[in-house]
C-alpha cells in the first residue's frame, strides 16, 4: 500500500503530489448508499499497540475529519464519559456489544469502530521512525451490518539522505533528538484520518451537511 507523508522534506513532495490521495482498491458502497446515514457515533478506540495512552489521544483526532465529511458526529468525550459511567470503560466491551442496541441508545444511524494496531517509535542511530496503523469499521445502527472499512498504516522518519554533506547530517541529528525526546504521533494520526476519510477515494461519501450530498453517488474512481 502506498502511504503519503505531508510532513516529509521537500524532495518528496513532487512524486507525492503527483500520486494524490487515491491509492486504495475499490469498495462496495451499495449498502452505504441505500442506508443514507446522517449521523456517526464514534465509540472509544480499541488499542492493540504497546502504548497504553494511544487510545484516548487518538480518539481526540476523530470528530473533526468525520464531521467535515458532512455527518453529525456525536460528542466524543460525552459519549466516552457516559459509557464509562455505565460500566463500559473497556473499549473492547463496547466494540463487542450489539451495534443495533448501542446505536438505538444514542439514536445513531451508524457506529464507527476504530482500533489501533500500531503506535510506536523505533529509535535508530540518526533518526526515529514513528509508525501508526489503524483499522476503521463503520457499521449500520439499523441492521448492524458493515457499511465501510479501511485500514491505514503510516510511517514517519525524518529523511536523512536528502541533501548530503555535513549540513544534512546535523539536520538529521537535530530531528532525531527532537523526535527521540517526545515522539509526536498526532500529526501522523491526523494525516492517516485525512487520507482514510477522503472522497473521492477510499473514504466516506459526502454526508447531509456537505453541498455535494447525494450528488457523488455515481462517482467512479
Amino acid at each position: 500500500m502506498i502511504t503519503r507523508y505531508c510532513i516529509l522534506p521537500f524532495v518528496l513532495f513532487l512524486p507525492l503530489g503527483l500520486l494524490g490521495c487515491v491509492t486504495a482498491p475499490k469498495k462496495d458502497y451499495t449498502q452505504f448508499f441505500s442506508e443514507k446515514p446522517r449521523s456517526i457515533l464514534v465509540v472509544p478506540v480499541v488499542n492493540s499497540s504497546v502504548d497504553v495512552d494511544a487510545t484516548s489521544y487518538f480518539l481526540s483526532t476523530l470528530s473533526v475529519p468525520v464531521a467535515d465529511r458532512g455527518y453529525y458526529v456525536f460528542p466524543i468525550n460525552m459519549v466516552k464519559r457516559m459509557l464509562e459511567d455505565d460500566g463500559l470503560s473497556d473499549a473492547a466491551m463496547v466494540h463487542n456489544a450489539d451495534p443495533v442496541r448501542l446505536a438505538a441508545l444514542f439514536g445513531a444511524d451508524t457506529i464507527l469502530y476504530v482500533s489501533i494496531e500500531r503506535w510506536d517509535a523505533k529509535y535508530m542511530l540518526l533518526t526515529t521512525q514513528v509508525t501508526v496503523e489503524f483499522n476503521y469499521i463503520l457499521k449500520s445502527g439499523r441492521s448492524g451490518t458493515e457499511l465501510w472499512r479501511d485500514h491505514r498504516s503510516m510511517v514517519y522518519a525524518p529523511n536523512q539522505s536528502s541533501g548530503g554533506g555535513i549540513g544534512a547530517l546535523i539536520g538529521a541529528m537535530i530531528a532525531a533528538a527532537i523526535t527521540k525526546a517526545a515522539p509526536n504521533y498526532m500529526p501522523l494520526a491526523r494525516e492517516a484520518n485525512a487520507a482514510t476519510f477522503a472522497w473521492p477515494g477510499p473514504g466516506l461519501p459526502a454526508g447531509p451537511y456537505r453541498p455535494e450530498y447525494g450528488k457523488d453517488l455515481a462517482v467512479q474512481w
Binding site: R4, C6, F10, V11, F13, L14, L16, G17, L18, G20, C21, R38, S39, D53, S56, Y57, L59, S60, T61, S63, V64, P65, A67, D68, G70, Y71, Y72, V73, F74, P75, I76, N77, M78, R81, M82, L83, D85, D86, G87, L88, R101, L105, F106, G107, A108, D109, M186, R190, E191, A194, A195, F197, A198, Y209, R210
Partner: protein, 134 residues
C-alpha cells in the same frame, strides 16, 4: 536552479492542498484541548473553557457551532452540577442538530429530574440505561 525551486515550491503547495482536509466548521482548538485533557485529566478546565470559546466565536461570526460542541459543553456543566445551564446547552444541540434528538431528549429528561434537587451526588449518565435496557 530557480526553476527547480519553483517546481518544488509549487508541488509542495499542490500536495499540501491535496491532503489538507477542508474544514467545514470553526473547531477552534477542540482537538488540541481534548488531547491535552486526556493527557492530563486533572486539568479539565482548559478543555471546558475551549468549548465555551468555540461556541462564542461561532456565534459571533454567525456560523453554525460544530456538531456535538453544545452537547459536549452541556455535559461538562452537567458534571459540575450546573444543571439549568447544562439543560440549555442540551436544548441548543437539540435545536441545531436533528440527529442528536434521541440522545438530547434523554439528557434533557435526566436534567429535568434533577432540577430543584441539590447535586449531592456526582451526576452520572444513568439516563442512558445501558445495562437495564434489556
Amino acid at each position: 536552479m530557480r526553476f527547480a525551486s519553483l517546481v518544488i515550491g509549487i508541488s509542495a503547495l499542490a500536495s499540501l492542498t491535496a491532503c489538507a482536509p477542508t474544514t467545514h466548521y470553526a473547531w477552534g482548538g477542540y482537538e488540541n484541548a481534548l488531547y491535552r485533557h486526556y493527557k492530563s485529566p486533572q486539568d479539565r478546565s482548559a478543555f471546558v473553557e475551549e468549548l465555551n470559546t468555540i461556541i462564542l466565536s461561532a456565534k459571533q461570526a454567525g456560523e453554525k457551532v460544530p456538531p456535538g460542541i453544545y452537547a459536549e459543553y452541556g455535559y461538562a456543566l452537567f458534571e459540575e452540577g450546573r444543571i439549568p445551564e447544562a439543560k440549555s446547552f442540551f436544548q441548543m444541540e437539540h435545536e441545531t442538530w436533528p440527529e442528536s434528538r434521541v440522545l438530547m431528549d434523554k439528557m434533557i429528561r435526566n436534567v429535568e429530574q434533577r432540577e430543584g434537587r441539590p447535586p449531592s451526588v456526582q451526576p452520572s449518565a444513568e439516563a442512558l440505561e445501558i445495562k437495564d435496557n434489556s
